[in-house]
């Protein structure tokens, strides 16, 4: 099997060091008609972390189906993982579904089996399907009952009208059936649409041997789009509102560009200073090919005008706070946080895996760190001008 694998890069371990160099993969392989494998070999470690991600796109009418598939997969393997104390997760990301398992290297074969189970054909009997769908549906409905959830939904639907929320909507979830979830699985869970990231005291051969049987849908023919049907209307939640809520959103570059993260950090800091009498915050939402900078807040009557004016003027305020020192400090803070996130095997595969899924580049996480080093006050101001030019869209909820 190893001979058939195309070794894209390998045996770079000797030159590897800690710090950001630890984000440089030791081996990158593309298995024939199989997944791309990115390996971080750490001979001294005792814990192994494995991540398989499946790249997929949902059609609007099936929004939330991948989330149901993810919930079902997790329900299926959780107890199996617990028998060896391994931790298994499944996450719906903007690029697909990511499955991870982390545990002692001595249980490597068993953990690889768990991972194969997560991506194998779902056995969705009626009870299992309803349980998985209810888990997602409950979250969506909880969100729709809160002012921040409704405000986010309204901003989202304006700024990316063609993009569905990852959890879907109440309406789209009601359209999902066991058959539609299985269809989604069959057209997406194919080895050639998968990325595998592994970290621990493992080498290439055992990984290939353990994961060679990933998923049996390779014979299902070429990927097909789901049947085209009308997009369900977005949820229009009517939460009980006591304060005035206001938000603005802007398109903020692509996932490989760290300027958005630096800008969000600086804008958030600006907002925290002098925000008396109201509550406000800055978030960065990630989509598959873009990011959204969202600024939202809430205030009671007498402070509502001040809150709204502050949000409307926040980017100008942030621009005035951009100095070489502030930009460098914010970039250094984000850089450190990313390194800290990757300090455990599971943190490392998650960081590398997300950047791999977003950019298609195994060194995407390392490249991102290096781009952070290039963020300057001037480049941040240029980026800010682009962001301002993209919007904003705004939404408001009144008592």
């Amino acid at each position: 099997m190893l001979r058939l694998a195309l070794l894209i890069a390998g045996a770079v371990l000797a030159g590897n060091q800690g710090g950001e160099e630890a984000l440089r993969p030791d081996s990158i392989l593309r298995l024939p008609e199989g997944p791309q494998l990115v390996l971080f070999s750490n001979p001294g470690a005792t814990v192994t972390a494995l991540r398989v991600s499946v790249l997929l796109e949902e059609d609007a009418h099936e929004a939330g189906a991948a989330r149901v598939l993810q919930a079902h997969a997790l329900q299926r393997v959780r107890s199996a993982a617990s028998s060896v104390g391994a931790v298994v997760t499944a996450t719906r990301t903007p690029w697909g579904i990511a499955y991870t398992v982390v545990g002692p290297q001595t249980h490597f074969e068993y953990m690889a089996w768990i991972l194969r189970q997560t991506v194998s054909e779902p056995n969705l009997d009626r009870v299992q399907f309803l349980r998985a769908r209810a888990e997602v549906s409950d979250e969506v409905e909880r969100e729709a009952e809160t002012p921040p959830g409704v405000l986010a939904e309204r901003l989202w639907s304006q700024i990316t009208p063609s993009e569905s929320r990852l959890d879907g909507s109440h309406a789209s979830l009601q359209q999902i059936t066991p058959g539609s979830v299985r269809d989604l699985w069959a057209r997406t869970h194919r080895p050639d649409r998968m990325n595998v990231v592994a970290a621990g005291p493992v080498t290439v051969d055992p990984i290939i041997a353990a994961l060679k049987d990933l998923v049996g849908s390779a014979d299902a023919g070429p990927p097909k789009r789901a049947d085209a049907r009308a997009m369900p209307p977005p949820d229009r939640g009517r939460p009980q509102v006591l304060r005035r809520w206001y938000g603005e959103a802007f398109l903020a570059g692509d996932p490989a560009d760290p300027h958005a993260e630096v800008l969000a950090l600086m804008a958030g800091r600006s907002l925290r200073q002098g925000s008396q009498g109201y509550e406000a915050g800055v978030e960065l939402w990630e989509l598959d090919r873009t990011r959204i900078l969202a600024v939202t807040g809430a205030a009671y009557g007498r402070n509502a005008s001040a809150m709204t004016a502050r949000i409307r003027g926040l980017l100008d305020e942030t621009r005035s706070a951009i100095t070489p020192e502030a930009a460098a400090g914010a970039a250094a803070g984000i850089r450190f946080q990313l390194l800290a996130d990757a300090r455990t095997p599971d943190g490392l595969i998650d960081l590398v895996g997300r950047h791999l899924d977003a950019t298609g580049t195994p060194s995407g996480a390392l490249d991102y760190l290096r781009r952070l080093d290039q963020v300057t006050a001037a480049s941040l101001e240029t980026f800010l001008t682009t962001v301002e030019g993209s919007g904003p869209v705004s939404a408001e909820l009144r008592p």
């Binding site: 710090g19 107890s79 104390g85 800290a340």
Partner: protein, 430 residues
């Protein structure tokens, strides 16, 4: 100088004991205290676990003192020292490193996470703030104000009272240890910046400390860098009361204290003395086994939480079990905990199946805790302060046996029990 290398978690950990003051360290004459004689048993323990592929370096400096050394009537002093130092350290380090200082009853843990490229200078900054820089009045006042606000909000909460009463139970008469680490609304207003300064000067003793470094570092260089924690001052050892009692048996007679309260849940605290000479890893395994017994799947609907731990109490180490349950099942749960201990001591008829299962899960949890660099560095400093050597936890877990588990459970001392909640007479368990 004592120096040896041992294997920890499959990695090489170098442990160095540095007795006496280091030569050539910067001395802040203003901070030097007249000390008649250096304590003969003082030592700086330094452990280094190199992780060549690590993305950050974690360094934990652990002092074997804590709120148990607060001055009388000044409860919260140690806590405020920790919070003040944390704020000052973070301010000095900037955004590209993270500092934390946590104060418990018998410990102060100061932890630095830093990128490998700046780790050495970051540690110098961290050590300078920790040991030498004048405490900032602004940070102190802000932290005290925050703490008073929180305690005011929590005043009268049953959970706070239970924590205080449970600590008294575990302290077995050592009242200094039993006080809440955060102090209380009476003591905090009396604490002054001078109290904090005196506490740090007397008790955050660079001659009685354990340091552990985990990350992509050269072991020799790391020992050199962390020696900066020494500041030239020599003071008498002020080890925690928990340290003094570490090898003792906490008590020989059990007890039961019922504190009836008209509240909406019942809290129970069970404390079992661990036998003298017990193995720490085996005791943690026993706690893990009991934790799983008390948290079955699916969960008992009458339970809010059930937690077990091995605790270094002042008169000796304890196996502690705390649960919060519906009042209707409080009495049943008191019996259930005692039964869980008795059954474990009697041996499991299905041990061929369950012992390996429990051992696997315990090992996995320990490996994953130690995979976090700050988790490992903290554990290493505790090992050093407790016994002067770092455990190879993985190897020790592999040697655990079902017989050893039974023996340890059977040799636990008499429990002291706190029942805190409504007195419903007999349970009305549905």
């Amino acid at each position: 100088m004592k120096r040896f290398v041992l294997s920890t978690l499959g990695l090489t950990a170098m442990v160095v004991s540095v007795p006496g003051p280091l030569v050539g360290q910067e001395v802040d004459s203003a901070a030097v205290e007249p000390t008649p004689e250096p304590a003969p048993d003082t030592a700086v323990w330094i452990a280094v676990a190199p992780r060549p592929r690590g993305t950050v370096v974690a360094t934990t400096v652990t002092f074997p003192v804590g709120s148990d050394h607060d001055p009388t009537g000044r409860g919260g002093t140690a806590w405020l020292v920790g919070r003040t130092l944390e704020g000052m350290a973070q301010e000095a380090l900037g955004e590209a490193a993270a500092a934390s200082v946590q104060v418990l009853r018998g410990r102060v843990y100061a932890t630095l996470l830093a990128p490998p490229t700046t780790w050495e200078s970051d540690f110098q900054t961290f050590a300078t703030v920790l040991m030498r820089r004048e405490l900032a009045a602004g940070h102190f006042e802000a932290e005290r104000s925050r703490l008073v606000g929180r305690l005011t909000f929590e005043a009268g909460a049953p959970v706070r009272e239970f924590e205080v009463e449970a600590a008294r139970l575990y302290a077995s008469g050592e009242q200094d240890w039993a006080r809440p680490p955060e102090g209380d609304l009476e003591s905090l207003p009396a604490v002054t910046l001078d109290d904090l300064t005196q506490f740090r000067r007397r008790l955050l003793n660079a001659d009685d400390v354990a340091v552990a470094v985990v990350g992509p570092v050269d072991p020799d260089a790391a020992v050199g860098v962390t020696s900066a924690i020494r500041d030239g001052r020599r003071r008498a050892s002020a080890s925690s009361s928990a340290e003094r009692g570490a090898s003792a048996v906490a008590w020989t007679t059990g007890d039961r204290l019922a504190l009836p309260r008209d509240i909406t849940n019942t809290s129970l605290a069970f404390a079992y003395p661990l036998p003298a000479g017990h193995d720490r890893t085996a005791a943690e395994f026993l706690a893990h086994v009991l934790q799983e017994k008390l948290n079955p799947v699916p969960p008992d609907p009458g339970v809010y939480r059930a937690e077990t731990q091995v605790m270094d109490a002042p008169t000796g180490p304890l196996l502690v079990i705390e649960v919060a349950v519906f009042p209707e099942v409080g009495n049943r749960w008191e019996q259930q905990i005692a039964t869980a201990i008795r059954e474990t001591a009697g041996g499991d008829p299905y041990e061929d199946v369950f012992f390996p299962w429990q051992q696997r899960r315990f090992r996995s949890a320990a490996m994953q805790r130690d995979a976090t660099p700050e988790g490992l560095s903290r554990r290493l400093t505790n090992d050093l302060l407790r016994g002067g050597s770092a455990r190879d936890v993985d190897a020790e877990i592999r040697t655990l046996t079902a017989e050893g588990l039974v023996t340890l459970a059977a040799t636990l001392g008499q429990p002291r029990v706190l029942f805190f909640g409504p007195d419903l007479g007999a349970d009305r368990d549905p």
